[in-house]
């Protein structure tokens, strides 16, 4: 039985889709069987980031409505043969995403894949609660700024109350993925510090992804950043996060921390 992960945030545009694709590809590159599922009905993006937009025939709603079989809707990645995409519908109404349908699809996917990674839409409406509903693990994507942190806090509250795990009295495993971390802005004090975010959200940190042009470049060529340029800083950070998801103890480094440390020494000498 595979693990179901929800990548969620509350706030929009923080990097959920980027992270879903990057983590999915990182896990699949180790030979794990992975499916990334787009829950953002009406605003689908994951197909673009995965570079599969021209190969979408059937989608999640078609499967839920019984208009297509799961095997017909799954799109195999061209680069990694254990990586699949289940796209969202761009045209259908999101009311077609029924709780029963989602439950059936997720349990089918769980049987076939090692990892089922659900890319949640922003917000706290039914799309987001359905995406998290059957998860075993949540990756809470947060940017180091106040509104994103508060929305993540709200989402954590929902993860602890509105999911099947919570309703069964079990604990949902939750991990914080801090994305778009800009060392320069952190140095200037324009962003919340890592420690402050951790103190507010009090869930374990699974990785810090630096703000980087490599992410935009990757999405422009339609590839998860971990496949587009595996040696880039954000890709490395996602690979490390994927290893931590598998339970490997990999130490976390704060991007730019070394430089800022050196900077302080030099600053003092100059003074």
């Amino acid at each position: 039985m595979g693990k179901v992960i929800v990548v969620t945030s509350g706030k929009g545009g923080v990097g959920k889709t980027t992270s879903t694709a990057a983590l999915g590809a990182a896990l699949a590159s180790k030979g794990e069987r992975v499916v990334v599922v787009d829950f953002d009905v009406g605003l689908r993006n994951l197909d673009l980031v995965m570079g599969a937009e021209r190969r979408v025939v059937y989608d999640l709603i078609n499967v839920i409505q019984g208009e297509a079989k799961l095997s017909q809707a799954l799109i195999r990645d061209k680069r990694l043969e254990t990586l699949f995409l289940l796209p969202a519908s761009q045209t259908r109404d999101k009311d077609n995403l029924t709780p029963e349908g989602v439950e059936r699809v997720i349990s089918e996917l769980r049987r076939v894949f090692d990892w089922v990674i659900c890319d949640s839409p922003a917000g706290i409406e039914s799309g987001a609660t359905l995406a998290m509903r059957h998860a075993d693990v949540a990756v809470v994507v947060t940017n180091p700024e106040v509104s994103s942190v508060r929305d993540s806090d709200r989402i954590i509250g929902l993860l602890d109350s509105k999911t099947v795990k919570a309703e069964n009295g079990e604990r949902m495993e939750k991990h914080l993925l801090l994305t778009r971390y800009d060392p320069n802005r952190a140095e200037r004090g324009d962003m919340l510090k890592v420690d402050d975010v951790l103190e507010i959200l009090s869930i374990p940190l699974i990785g810090i992804i630096p703000e980087s042009m490599d992410v935009l470049r990757a999405s422009n060529i339609g590839a998860p950043v971990t496949l587009a340029d595996a040696s880039s800083a954000p890709a490395q950070a996602y690979f490390d996060a994927a290893r931590r998801l598998c339970g490997e103890p990999v130490p976390i480094t704060v991007p730019g921390e070394k430089r800022s440390f050196l900077g302080k020494i030099f600053g003092r000498k100059a003074a």
Partner: protein, 244 residues
């Protein structure tokens, strides 16, 4: 056709008590409304989705003025669920119903079953079987209160082992103890208790209230921010001092 009165499927009518916010305006109403606006503007959404009762027992008001007052509430999105202490002649169709028998819940009027409302809280944080005859009750929550969550415990003290997030609230009939950072709202003595206090390990609160007396973040002495603090009431004023 005769009505069958012995239909096996009866309608179940249940009684339930709710904790409502009671507003007791005083004259002149314009001044009072200005103060209400002030509170609401600094505490956005405070009245949203809350049952609010209008108490006019001590208010000299005629029917026209009452209608105007009700319209003023509608304008402010405050939903009045009932009016307390109004002479029957004051009320009419299209007005909220008269309410009677509201109790200021006090220590010796403890409900048999505590009215505990923990929205969004996992099941395990609900307290164990309440002890019906015990007057002092307390609720201990072992995890952080997240943004959007609200813990309401009129029966006694609330202790949170963890932080209270910005946008979260703890409302206790007794004292509030936060063993973490208080970033959201804390209201102690919510049903009338001048001796209730608020304690927190780190003060970053958005709003504090004791026995209905409010204090907003911007009214707080800057020296308290980030400190361990206790707050209490002295002559209708919230007092504060740092602990340790």
């Amino acid at each position: 056709m005769t009505k069958v009165l012995t239909d096996a499927r009866s309608i179940r009518i249940k009684g339930r008590s709710f904790l409502a916010v009671v507003l007791s305006p005083d004259l002149p109403l314009d001044d009072w409304l200005a103060r209400l606006d002030d509170l609401a503007s600094r505490s956005a959404g405070f009245f949203l989705g809350r049952p609010v009762v209008l108490d006019v027992t001590d208010l000299e008001i005629c029917k026209t003025d009452l209608k105007e007052l009700l319209a003023a509430f509608v304008e402010r999105n405050v939903a009045i669920m009932g009016i307390e202490g109004a002479r029957p002649s004051l009320l009419g169709p299209g007005m909220p119903p008269a309410l009677k028998g509201g109790k200021p819940v006090s220590g010796d009027a403890v409900a048999k079953e505590p009215i505990i409302e923990i929205r969004n809280m996992p099941a395990e944080t609900q307290p164990a079987e309440p002890e019906p005859r015990q007057v002092l009750q307390s609720l201990v929550i072992r995890e952080p209160i997240r943004s959007g969550q609200s813990v309401i415990f009129p029966e006694g003290d609330v202790t949170v082992i963890g932080s209270v997030a910005s946008g979260a609230e703890v409302i206790a009939g007794g004292s509030v103890h936060i063993y973490g950072t208080l970033r959201g709202r804390a209201m102690a003595g919510s049903i009338g208790n001048i001796n209730a206090r608020i304690f927190c390990r780190k003060m970053e609160a958005e709003l504090l209230a004791i026995d209905g007396v409010y204090k907003m973040a911007e009214d707080m002495a800057p020296g308290l921010r980030g400190k361990s603090v206790q707050l209490w009431l002295e002559n209708d004023t919230i007092m504060a001092e740092t602990l340790i």
